[in-house]
Symmetry: C2
């Protein structure tokens, strides 16, 4: 195919007319498709329904160590659930606290705790003049929303194929004591799908932060979410790497089963050092008498162990892979060679990151919406929802069926072409 | 029986020797009984096990209005659960937000939200020089722990048989704009077991707070927890009373099924005005994508409606009543007429409040502990765990069996006598 940039004014004008017609046709189809959020599909949720039978009236609700999961107490979770979540994260169960139905509230509460009470005895962030945060971009909108809510100034860090630009991270973290944290999705990153390389993880672990209360928020949301058996990304364990550098208190790691069992009714955990856990527990014990241990037990009884969980994740992969492939195939066949966009080809996770020509993303999303295809808002992958290049769009293929995903992709590439040609014509 | 205070030195000394012997005997029994916390017993939890079958792999997990309870979204809870919790509180479902597994985190988060972000646009409490709070005493230790954690200065308000001393409450709330809240357990209060009278509720509703961000934290934890069918306490609805006074934003009401279904795995809710709900939702939507809607659906499918829930609560009452009666019978027969203690006789809830002779509570609790009976720490019913009279002890009869409760009560009254006589001898 011919690169759009090499086309003459006349060629572009003719193409534009053609694309406009196609777009009017597409709108006429009355589609209503949503690839805005990384939501599991109905069929994927159906796969987990047997979990509900893993704790029935016929079962006893007592854990192996004799904890009555139905009653108050056991603030940090049941031992079996700690083991399972530790295995998901590749760490030791003694590092783990199991919380409630999702990991986002753990992250929010961790920021809130630091804001109100400080970090392991440091000055509460609400008493500081300035708190800053590093945000690798493109990144996860709900992360950015938390730091924005607490009035924390967000500084963007470019992502590359190995992870965040670590030279820049190092410079900020080691020179500026107002930098208190960084958001990371280290495996199958949201939205680029890349996994942090060993050297990036080691560079994180070797940081010498200017601030004693600097923490890495390591959101290992897609730890077991491989799409391909034969080409999985591997992420090395940040906790042990940090310990090797005498930096054991520098990381909070988070994970959940939101995209393993049920998106609204999973279990979630944090792994971190003993000192950090004690600090977390000191406010946790005021906030709650304990999280839902019956749901913890239900999950453990069903999955049995990490091997059981991985068998389950293969079924998810079989369901998700065709959706990713439908998108990527459409992108390749329709946009390949046009030199108007780039996109990632993740080996796991929930997203594809798409970079349109600068200045086109918002308009593409709007055009898609008009034709019945809802995307994540353009800019959402940047702090304050402001993508300076107006280029990045997050594609979330998990919710629609593969057939719907193909339809949606066709509308999407059409809108990409239409908006890009319009943009090129205006800027000729 | 003869009043201890009227006894001579000789009589007291003789009694003391006798009680000491009895106490040594009691210690010899090697008891291990716990009436420290308002925990449901195993048998009580067993009564709720069928809830687990109300949402199995054979059921569909879709609500009546078409919400997939397994997926993300629906921040404020499913409509069916709003209806059920509204009926528990005696309010309208449109006032209700349904949260996670317990109400304590809702209260904590509500204080935390006000501390970090203010109340409906007011100055965040963390930016104020002084925040004060009213604490009716004796009261609930976990309430006081929250306000203590946030550095809020707690002022005690005496409780009487109708509720808090409302003249004092009015004086503080209307004259001091640093007073930002008050803790209340309006029905079967923790620990006195009394229910706020209509005139107390109306006095609350008619308050004209000096601070626009003053809120009543109305912890309606025991709304449906009557012990007797024929002599229930009735609590009038604070939300509608407040509305009558143009004070609709002044109250947050909380409730949960922690002591209806499972103590660790129930559902919990807040009822409040539209303005307040919007403010709550503005941070909720950052903190979480939604609470566990499957557990909400499980509860609604099992209880069906408030009538079903009340039938269930009658079974609880049948189980709890003998425990309360065992305690009260023992108190009456062993302590009646001795003029050394008073106690409440609640018609519902989870606690009996016991007032020993001044200066004796700590020692009684210690002596009980030594004889294998664990009580709530003396002082726990006061802010900062400081009971100025060292007199109040909270008795929690729910966890032991009736037989254990009788044994525990015997040890308790023995310790009361022993410590009191010792005290009288020292002060002769």
């Amino acid at each position: 195919m011919k690169s759009y940039k090499s086309m003459s004014q006349e060629e572009l004008s003719a193409l534009y007319e053609e694309l406009k017609k196609e777009y009017i046709d597409a709108k006429g189809k009355g589609l209503n498709l949503n690839m805005a959020r990384g939501k599991p599909s109905k069929a994927q949720l159906d796969m987990s329904m047997d979990i509900l039978d893993a704790l029935s009236s016929k079962d006893n609700a007592i854990t192996e160590s004799g904890i009555d999961s139905r009653n108050y107490g056991d603030l940090t979770g049941i031992p079996e659930a700690k083991q399972l979540m530790a295995d998901v994260m590749g760490t030791d169960p003694q590092n783990v606290i199991v919380f409630g139905n999702a990991s986002l509230p753990i992250m929010y509460d961790t920021v809130a705790r630091s804001y109100c009470f400080g970090v392991n005895g440091s000055t509460p962030w609400c008493k500081l003049d300035k708190v800053k945060w590093l945000c690798p971009v493109p990144g996860y909108d709900r992360h950015f929303a938390i730091t924005e809510q607490f009035g924390i100034e967000m500084i963007t860090i470019p992502m590359n194929s190995e992870g965040p630009d670590m030279e820049l991270v190092k410079k900020y973290v080691e020179e500026d004591e107002t930098i208190k944290g960084i958001w990371c999705v280290p495996k199958y990153s949201n939205p680029t799908g890349i996994t942090f390389s060993d050297s990036v993880v080691r560079a994180f672990a070797a940081l010498k932060p200017a601030a004693e209360d600097f923490r890495i928020f390591w959101d290992n949301a897609y730890a077991v979410h491989d799409l391909y058996e034969d080409k999985k990304d591997e992420l090395i364990d940040i906790l042990s790497e940090c310990a090797l550098n005498g930096n054991e208190d520098m990381v909070y790691e988070f994970c959940s089963t939101s995209k393993v069992s049920f998106a609204g009714a999973g279990i979630a955990a944090m792994a971190t050092s003993e000192k950090n856990r004690k600090w977390v527990e000191s406010t946790m014990t005021i906030q709650t008498i304990g999280y839902d241990k019956m749901n913890q037990l239900r999950h453990v009884r069903y999955f049995k162990d990490i091997d059981g969980l991985k068998v389950h994740m293969k079924k998810h992969a079989d369901m998700l892979r065709p959706k990713f492939e439908a998108v990527l195939k459409c992108f390749e066949s329709e946009l390949g060679g046009l030199d108007i966009a780039t996109w990632t080809e993740p080996k796991g996770g929930y997203f594809i990151s798409f970079d349109a020509m600068e200045g086109c993303a918002k308009e593409i999303v709007a055009k898609c919406k008009e034709a019945g295809v809802t995307l994540t808002g353009a800019g959402a992958t940047y702090p304050y929802k402001k993508d300076p290049k107006d280029s990045n769009i997050r594609i979330a293929p998990s919710f629609p069926t593969p057939e719907e995903m193909e339809l949606a992709s066709r509308v999407f590439v059409l809108c990409v072409k239409l908006v890009t040609v319009e943009h090129l014509l205006q800027n000729k």
